[in-house]
Amino acid sequence: MRREFLSSEQQKKGIHFDPRTKLLLILIISVFVLGGAGGNAMYFLRPVLSLVPFAMLISVGRGFHAALYIIAYTVCYVAQLILLPILTGFTNFLVLILAGTFCRFLPGFIIAYFVVTTTTVSEFMAGMERMHMPSKITIPLSVVFRFAPTVLEEAASISDAMKMRGIRFGGKKSSKILEYRLIPMITCSVKIGEELSAAALTRGLGAPLKRTNICEIGFHFPDVIIFILCGVTVAWAIFSAFSI
């Protein structure tokens, strides 16, 4: 299967969320879990927020991924709670880096994974347009989502090819990594990008008209629940910031 960030096919089963709700979730989780805003006051809310990606994955019928996620998260969380006070020195550092980073990054990563695999480009654009985001931001942003997997794929292929020539970290020609890996990657990406650009223009992206969209988006009951959760989180963060 081709790797893609924003899917081109609409999600068929499960609960549909509005793209704006999903964006709000990404924002909230990246601020409070990944960015760690709110400090100690968020100590109890953070695991709750971390459960949201789990619930979201269940809601679209990806039980397996959801289970993997919840197991990984619990292990890291427990490791942090139990192992850290015991260990010292290097092992402490290792556990710290592994468990700490995982606990921080995993929820954000999973929610981003959930959002990009269940939202189509059209839905994303429709949501952005409803929020009155200027097209000068939304078009490049959707290009970013569309194009990022391609660049990563190119980078991986070039990395494989250069490994064969011995241009790798610790290899004979490790000094040439920059020139031999970065430059081909940029060249490839730019050429693919030019084709992408031509394809999009053929479909009328550059036309000076207001673009229409056939996606039906709107807020429903599941969205309201997410909004309440996000509202509570923000309110709690503000409340605790002022009460201290």
């Binding site: 990246s30 710290l96 490049p140 060249t187 730019v190």
Partner: protein, 201 residues
């Protein structure tokens, strides 16, 4: 100041330009990300102010050969800021992305998007967005360190804060600029050596 060469190309940013912005943003972020990912090792945190501008110069110098309209570099800076913010680098980077993108854009405009010196200068200014990633260490330092401590423990924080003392702020700010200029020079050389030959610059 009268312009001798009037460009017939419209100054309005069209669909093609927006796609170009998107494409170069991805390339830029992927390249920065290679070094940015190292930054959970404490010593690499101040060093991001050296490596990221240095490496980022290559895609940026290629980008400015395509971005000949006012606003494109600003949009790129803003996008990088937004994406970095979503990736958990704090909200400062969204601001620095916009501000330094705009400054770089103005510098480019002052050179009519032609001057080689101005392009390198713009690269130096543009690279300063990177400083936004390090901003939480200086503005609201206590809160940020406490928050790091909660996630990574006291030992990590003491190491990090010894690498990131308060007095390093102006040094890092200047470093991003200087290494941005150097990155621009490298980028220019690489453009000449590789990209022109490949027919993409």
């Amino acid at each position: 100041m009268s312009k001798d060469v009037t460009q017939k190309v419209s100054n309005h940013i069209g669909g093609k330009d927006l796609i170009t912005v998107g494409i170069y943003t991805v390339i830029y972020i992927v390249i920065i990300g290679i070094f940015g990912a190292l930054s959970f090792i404490p010593i690499f945190i101040p060093l991001t102010a050296v490596f990221c501008p240095l490496i980022g110069g290559i895609p940026f110098m290629l980008y400015v050969t395509k971005a000949k309209k006012f606003g494109m570099t600003t949009i790129m800076g803003t996008l990088i800021g937004i994406l970095m913010f979503v990736m958990g680098m704090g909200y400062w980077v969204a601001i620095t992305g916009l501000v330094f993108g705009l400054i770089a854009d103005l510098v480019l405009k002052s050179g009519k998007y032609q001057s080689a010196k101005r392009t390198i200068l713009a690269c130096g200014f543009f690279s300063m967005w990177e400083f936004g990633n390090l901003m939480p260490f200086f503005v609201g330092r206590e809160a940020y360190l406490a928050q790091l401590q909660e996630g990574y423990g006291a030992e990590y924080v003491s190491t990090v804060s010894s690498y990131m003392p308060m007095w390093i702020l102006p040094i890092l700010l200047i470093a991003t600029f200087i290494f941005g200029l150097l990155g621009g020079l490298i980028g220019k050389a690489i453009c000449k050596k590789h990209f022109k030959r490949a027919g993409i610059a």
